[in-house]
Symmetry: C2
Subunit: 220 residues, 2 copies
């Protein structure tokens, strides 16, 4: 039953859930016991009908005039996202970005538990990043199976992204969260999500460039 | 003419440009003088027709049988994205994520120059992160105008995201790159791009949860 519910939610709605959760938690912290879809829509600069549709997927039913029970809604979103359970993960590539993800509060608060980091830099191996040990990448094969790790966060340099992904797959990883600025090609059964920092930069930078060109054109 | 060209490109195509650029640069490093759209499509796990359509927007014309000139293509993508110029930016919020963005190689390589960071934590103010000074947030107002900064990267805690954005807008910022897990509401003329790390986590975590539920259902 629950599986069926989750399957019926669009990818876009899933991506919006953290926005709802963040707002609901803020409102709980401010003592708000109920939240209307109109209020949520206003705060998130969107339409109430979309809010209602998205939140219907959580199974929580709002009360007329009052709206959703805040606590119930937060718990339902967390359950929907699997954020009510701890999600253990390995971090592959302990550079700047990887280190930041280890200490990134919104992940920690939502159950992401990076249990070890891997790197091939002998200066990093043996050190700790906020309590997380950096191990040699050569120990990866052994540890994925032994520690029953399903999720790997890929923050290696782009040049070795594909080969590292293949290594993870042959070690039995179930999901790869790819932060490298390239696509990785893996078998269909492996869950892959790519977070593309460069895409965001491309977007904002091209819009600034267009704006500057338009201004220059207007000024002669 | 150039402005017109840029305006005709879809947001999705702009977001794909860094993928093309990264691949083209890797191939240049390997000595490849030309690249066919078929080759690019194969490497990026996409269709050649999409590659041809996307790259047509750069203005570079491929040669029959040979494909695109690698160097020319790289330069054209950089021009299209505004990555041929240095993009100076302020970082607002010098936490883990903010610090990582200062040292993030793919940004540095593509012209993003974070010239100062701002925070309200007296322990951080006066320190340096990879050569970038951390200044008191109270100096923001003065410096945005004086240093002609157009872009602010927002990595403050979610609770203060909206008020910080409003402060940036009233100081005349033109673009805000929002890394906080909330939407910010600003006037239409301000360019806003949100990079949503939590959305990626929601996606991968909900898919893992669904998979686990399905497995559990299958096993009884």
């Amino acid at each position: 039953m629950e599986t069926k519910e989750i399957k019926s939610i669009s990818k876009a709605a899933i991506r919006r859930m953290p926005l709802y959760l963040s707002l609901v938690k803020q409102q709980i912290a401010m003592g708000e016991k109920t939240l209307s879809s109109t209020f949520i829509a206003e705060k998130l600069n969107t339409e109430a009908i979309q809010v209602r549709k998205d939140l219907a997927a959580t199974g929580v039913v709002g009360q007329p005039r009052l709206g959703f029970c805040s606590e119930e809604l937060a718990a339902a979103i967390e359950r929907l996202l699997g954020w009510d359970n701890l999600q253990e993960a390995f971090l592959i590539g302990a550079g700047n970005l990887g280190s930041a993800l280890i200490g990134y509060e919104p992940f920690i608060e939502n159950g992401l538990n990076i249990v070890a980091a891997f790197d091939n830099d002998s200066d990093k191996i043996g050190t700790e990043i906020r309590g997380v040990k950096v191990l040699s990448i050569d120990r990866l094969e052994n540890l994925i199976g032994r520690m029953h790790i399903k999720l790997a966060i890929l923050t290696v340099p782009v040049e070795v992204a594909q080969q590292t992904a293949e290594r993870l797959v042959s070690d039995g990883i179930e999901a790869i969260w790819n932060f490298t600025p390239t696509k990785i090609i893996v078998p269909d059964e492996v869950i892959v999500e790519r977070t593309d920092l460069a895409a965001g930069y491309a977007q904002i930078s091209s819009r600034l460039a267009t704006k500057a060109q338009r201004k220059a054109a207007e000024n002669g």
